[in-house]
């Protein structure tokens, strides 16, 4: 599978910012699990520096074509994200650049669109996440650097 280098568990640290909130840091664990089908099961958890659970999201990552990537994500904050984009080979790995359409539930804070860049090389995974939300245009929100632990 084009994206099989992601299979495993990744841990590290991230930092978040947005015009409407205080900046923050977090610990993160990602898993991309091979369930024997042509896609990976994705689960993400973050914690505050004090160890309190912060965010979690889940979904599926798939590569339906040689350069096409689809990242299908459910958010407990009331959004679904359907992120689509490209796969590019890099030194030791690959990079995904994805733009997402969003659906918001009736009670959710409104997110209009998101962008994700995910880079994997050897045993390092880094990502950047930007979003247009609550009236703010597309703006950087999260960046993290993770190391494969399993």
């Amino acid at each position: 599978m084009l994206i099989s280098q992601l299979i495993g568990t990744w841990r590290g640290e991230g930092a978040g910012e947005y015009p409407t909130i205080e900046s923050f840091t977090y610990a993160e664990e990602l898993t991309f699990k091979d369930v024997g089908k042509p896609f990976l099961l994705y689960q993400q958890l973050t914690w505050s520096p004090s160890g309190a659970p912060m965010h979690t999201e889940t979904g599926f990552l798939r590569a339906p074509g040689p350069e096409a990537i689809e990242f299908i994500i459910a958010q407990p904050t009331g959004q679904t994200e359907l992120a689509e984009g490209t796969y590019t080979t890099t030194d030791g790995g690959f990079e995904l650049r994805l733009e997402a359409r969003i659906m918001n539930s009736a009670t959710a804070k409104i997110v209009d669109a998101t962008q994700r860049r995910i880079a994997v090389a050897d045993n390092q995974l880094t990502y950047d996440f930007a979003m247009a939300a609550v009236g703010v245009p597309m703006t950087h929100h999260l960046a993290a650097s993770l190391t494969r632990v399993d």
Copy 2:
């Protein structure tokens, strides 16, 4: 939590039909996991009678108001489902009636809308799932009956 009766693992059997496919039966396992936040993590797996993996989906279930339910789901077939609806108390449990908006990826078979009815009473969970997809209007697709195993 209004929906805490769902927390645990449920196993059972289901049957599927749709005008465009052969009818089929399946074994299913659902988990609704309490992750210490005001929502439940949902994971679903089905297998054919021969034991081959069939479908899987994942997401979050939450009850943001006393009678409001949101079920936020990612599908590895390229859809996100944002299902919203009502919670009704029943003898020994409750019933959820949800209607979902769908986003389809560029390579997905097109699903236009879905309906889910989920009933929990004592240690039984039953559901019905209907969908409008691939040009067929809203039509019954799946029904299953599961028992709590954990």
